[in-house]
């Protein structure tokens, strides 16, 4: 996808403007912008006040544009129930999606404009069809990239991202759209970061209280955006899945609640390798895809409610399901902890870390105490406890840290025992185990150094006191009797 985008960007002329023209416009814009900023900073002209107000408005808009929670998508995440005549629900069973799907692969201008119109018409007829919305969002996203528009680009990107996210909320749970969504999300974050950086730079040295406040706020958001970009690394699992299942029913069809419930029941009966009744989908595949997608969504704060919904839909009738659900909850908790850590909220981060560690310890206590581990998600709590201990090392007092490190290490020892039969788990654990040992040693030596320094200081103070007393005594002796 990224390659396509690069190729499209290189293509000239684009959107009716040649590369040279675009460069010229950009230079002109930069010049205007610089003049405006110089004017604002000097504060001498009549337009200065209006300029500052515009800047504040711009900054507030950027703050509002940060995708840090479901509020980014608006108040409602579900489509409104639209009904036909006499209250009957509109059926979209006859809708043929194939041309629209082909259109997002094909960027020939003539065909695209025709299909775009057809898509708009279909959306008017079926405003609650999530897949149509997803395709429309992708179409818009591609248009934004190809046209190279500058004005209101952020707005347009936000609209397409929101439409895509809402389509996921409304049942468009497919590997293909998940990949599209993440690509759009990352592109949006990158553009937003760029805008924030430019705006905060231009707001430097403007002696206005509100500007200063907003600059600080944007700085925190910038750090959060850096962290949110990390979702790119979590794409590995989904990409692998897409490659493995390429051309199969699993990639291009959403998973329904009924399917997931049926798959869970089949897992309980030990029939997970069989197809779900009336479908050609294997129960084990359904469960795996569902959890992989939910785990991916757990790394995107605007999909927080979707993650909750997915977790509720998965019944807790088997340990494997419970452990995977808890793995996703823990991943969500880790994101929260990381966001707090990145934003510099130490107290909140410490609380999140403690809460998370308790949650993971409970998972172990309730489900893994005597388990023979054969699946990766079964070792997840042990690994996560160790990881959090290492990450939160500076948040806890030394006495607590010592206890945390030793319990995390004790937990990791399970990975080296014969109870753990997962290939590569021991190596994974060994790395963390060594890091924890190193942490313990360094903390101990730091503690020892501190104690030694304190002792040396006490000794020096004592020596000083003795010297002072001796000096005072000597001074007192030398002092004439009349003055005493």
């Amino acid at each position: 996808m990224a390659q396509d985008r690069d190729r499209d960007q290189k293509r000239a002329p684009r959107g009716g403007i040649t590369d040279e023209e675009r460069k010229e416009t950009a230079a002109q814009f930069a010049q205007e912008y610089a003049d405006k900023m110089r004017m604002l900073k000097s504060g001498k002209t009549a337009d200065a006040k209006a300029g500052i107000e515009a800047l504040i408005k711009d900054m507030e808009y950027l703050v509002d544009s940060c995708p840090t929670g479901p509020a980014f998508l608006g108040k409602r995440q579900k489509y409104e129930e639209s009904k036909g005549w006499f209250g009957a629900k509109k059926s979209d069973g006859q809708l043929n999606m194939t041309p629209f799907k082909q259109a997002i692969q094909n960027t020939e201008k003539k065909q695209v404009s025709m299909i775009r119109q057809e898509l708009e018409n279909a959306l008017k007829r079926f405003p609650n069809n999530a897949e149509l919305h997803a395709l429309h969002a992708i179409q818009v996203f591609q248009d934004i990239n190809q046209a190279g528009i500058r004005s209101k680009k952020l707005n347009a990107m936000r609209a397409s991202l929101t439409e895509m996210a809402l389509s996921i909320y409304n049942g468009c749970d497919q590997i293909t759209y998940a990949i599209w969504f993440i690509n759009m999300y990352i592109a949006y974050i990158e553009y937003l970061k760029d805008r924030i950086m430019r705006t905060t730079k231009s707001a430097d040295h403007i002696p206005n209280q509100r500007v200063i406040e907003l600059r600080r706020e944007l700085h925190v958001h910038l750090m959060q955006l850096n962290f949110l970009q990390g979702v790119k690394e979590k794409m590995v699992g989904v990409n692998r899945l897409a490659t493995l299942l390429k051309g199969t029913i699993y990639v291009n069809e959403s998973i329904s609640i009924l399917e997931i419930k049926a798959a869970s029941q089949m897992l309980l009966k030990g029939q997970e390798m069989q197809n779900i009744k009336d479908t050609k989908k294997k129960a084990s595949h359904i469960i795996y895809i569902y959890f992989t997608l939910t785990l991916l969504y757990a790394n995107v704060p605007i999909l927080k409610e979707k993650v909750k919904e997915n977790l509720i839909n998965m019944p807790e009738i088997h340990r494997d399901l419970i452990l995977q659900k808890r793995m996703i909850i823990a991943a969500d908790g880790i994101n929260e902890f990381k966001a707090e850590l990145f934003s510099g909220y130490a107290k909140e981060a410490r609380e999140s870390a403690s809460k998370l560690m308790k949650f993971l310890s409970d998972t172990i206590k309730d489900h893994l105490e005597t388990a023979i581990m054969t699946k990766q998600f079964e070792i997840d709590p042990y690994i996560k406890i160790a990881w959090i201990t290492l990450e939160a090392r500076d948040l806890f007092p030394l006495s607590d840290l010592h206890e945390l490190v030793s319990s995390a290490r004790e937990g990791l020892e399970v990975l080296f025992s014969k109870r753990c039969q997962i290939k590569g788990a021991a190596e994974q654990g060994r790395e963390l185990y060594n890091a924890l040992t190193a942490l313990e040693l360094s903390e101990e030596s730091r503690h020892r150094d501190m104690a030694r320094n304190a002792a040396a200081e006490a000794k020096a103070a004592e020596a000083d006191a003795v010297a002072e007393a001796a000096y005072a005594k000597a001074a007192a002796i030398d002092m004439p009797t009349s003055l005493r």
Partner: protein, 536 residues
């Protein structure tokens, strides 16, 4: 944060059974146990029967996790049953829950102190010996007829003793050893050769064993200490030393136990020490400790296929390697390496694993060798060989167009010996793979390493010239010496070389050359001082 769904408590026995079975199927054991407790209150005999059947079925499969859940429920009803405690202990041990297993065994022993297997299983649990019931009994049976001290066997006689025996001057084995012993006592021995040394050491070892078997610890002790000092690879020198000390003092069992325990801290995997400690505890009527040490020894002996001594293991491993049985020889070498980290063991292991294309394992051995013996010339030589082997293999793989494999091999070679050549090859391959970051890293390392290598080469060259200069002075070839020293001085303005040159020029009465030398000595120093002052 979420938790399992809570269903309403069952009200009838049928509901209890259905719910428990469903939860067990979903591997939700804790929940199932809670429901079982409710069921027990409803109809104890019926539920007890069901639990017993399920417990036995789970043991048969075996599904240890399920078994321990059913067993736990059963244990609430029949807590005084020693057999059940034994089975539960075994279950816990299968799940690697050793403290829990110990608790079950101890509880069982309280109920029935004479239980056939409980004490053996408890000892096995303490020794981390993963066998159960009759298997433990069988393992312990092999020591039934053994009495302490258990000493190693005589080693084969070396060529030296063969020659002496052929001589016919010695009527029997003891006389022969007497002769050897007398010879050892002589202050003026003929110049040592490796063969003679080995032969003497072999006989020294056999002699000390003979002394120990005759109860003469006083004579044996200095011989054993000498062998240990020389770091010879003989079996059971530790236990021999311990026996020699105790033979001479005839110490009580408890003191001997303490002595052996101290030695065991230094050599925790010495099979002789473990067995003797077990036997001494048996003499002292401490059955639990006795079984614990004996079982630990059995575990180790199983790994080394019943062999006590490392020397034999090394020989067998070597023979197997020569016979082409590489996989088997690896197992033996690994056991030796675990107990006696030595250059030859590590390098042999590294070589064999390399030949078997198990490169990462091979690398691990070379790195261990590097960690322990990189300072010794033998160690350096071995590492050099390993580096060359990895580089050659990497080159070969590269020609076969397996870029990612070859880059790994170059990386491993660089781990053994970081050279600019290895980093250069890695950078080239990363460029091919379009991994710019890694390529850049490797280029940086290559440049750094190249600088170091050049400096090293220059230094070696200079040292060689200085050595040649000094040798020429010894031979009174002063002009030649001056030439060498001059060249060395050009490479680096070194104080020692300067002094040597000045000394020679002064004695050769060449004031002009001496003045020039002084000028060239001062010039760079002045420059250096100037730059330093500028920096300040």
């Amino acid at each position: 944060m979420g938790g399992p769904e809570t269903a309403p408590s069952p009200t009838t026995l049928q509901e209890v059974v259905e719910r428990v079975l469903e939860l067990m199927q979903g591997r939700l054991y804790k929940e199932a146990l809670k429901i079982l407790v409710i069921g027990l209150k409803m109809d104890r005999p019926k539920v007890e029967r069901m639990i017993t059947q399920r417990f036995q079925a789970a043991l048969k499969i075996p599904d240890w996790e399920e078994a321990i859940t059913w067993g736990n429920a059963l244990f609430r009803i029949k807590g005084e049953d020693a057999d059940l405690a034994n089975q539960m202990g075994n279950c816990a041990r299968q799940l690697d829950k050793l403290p829990l297993a110990n608790d079950y065994y101890r509880h069982g022993l309280k109920q029935d102190p004479n239980h056939k297997f409980l004490r053996m299983n408890l000892a096995a649990s303490l020794a981390k010996f993963y066998k159960y019931d009759a298997e433990v009994e069988n393992a312990l049976a092999m020591f039934d007829t053994v009495t302490p001290p258990l000493l190693p066997e005589y080693t084969k006689m070396g060529r030296f003793i063969d020659r002496l025996a052929e001589d016919g001057s010695f009527p029997d084995f003891v006389a022969l050893y007497d002769a050897v012993f007398q010879r050892l006592g002589e202050p003026q021995l003929p110049p040592a050769t490796q063969l003679l040394d080995d032969a003497l050491a072999t006989n020294l070892y056999n002699l000390s064993l003979l002394c120990l078997k005759n109860g003469d610890g006083d004579t044996a002790l200095p011989l054993i200490l000498r062998l240990r000092k020389e770091n010879k690879l003989f079996n059971g020198l530790e236990i021999m030393e311990a026996c020699a000390r105790h033979c001479s003092t005839n110490a009580p069992t408890k003191d001997r136990i303490e002595g052996l325990k101290e030695l065991l801290l230094q050599h925790p995997k010495d099979r002789f020490l473990l067995v003797n400690l077990g036997l001494l505890y048996r003499e002292d009527n401490n059955w639990l400790q006795s079984m614990k040490y004996l079982l630990t020894a059995v575990d180790l002996l199983e790994q080394s296929q019943g062999l006590y001594g490392m020397a034999e293991q090394f020989q067998i491993a070597e023979k197997q390697y020569q016979a082409g049985e590489k996989e088997k020889s690896v197992t033996f070498f690994q056991v030796v390496a675990e107990q006696q980290p030595r250059i030859d063991v590590y390098s042999r292991l590294g070589e064999i694993l390399f030949e078997l294309d198990r490169f990462e394992e091979s690398l691990a051995n070379w790195l261990l060798l590097k960690e322990h013996f990189s300072e010794t010339p033998k160690g350096q030589e071995a590492l050099e060989k390993a580096y060359a082997a990895f580089m050659a293999k990497a080159d070969q793989v590269r020609t076969e167009a397996k870029a990612s494999d070859s880059v790994h091999l170059y990386g491993w070679a660089a781990q053994i010996k970081p050279t600019s050549e290895a980093y250069k090859s890695m950078a080239q391959i990363y460029h091919l793979l379009k991994d710019k970051d890694r390529a850049y890293d490797c280029e940086q390392k290559q440049a750094e390493r190249k600088r170091e290598e050049e400096a090293e080469a220059l230094n070696n060259e200079r040292e060689k010239l200085v050595a040649q200069g000094k040798a020429a002075i010894q031979e009174k070839k002063y002009n030649e010496a001056l030439d060498f020293l001059k060249q060395a001085f050009i490479l680096k303005k070194d104080k020692d070389v300067f002094v040597l040159q000045a000394y020679l020029l002064k004695n050769l009465k060449r004031p002009k050359a001496l003045a020039e030398l002084m000028a060239s000595w001062k010039a760079p120093r002045q420059e250096q001082e100037k730059t330093e002052s500028e920096q300040v």
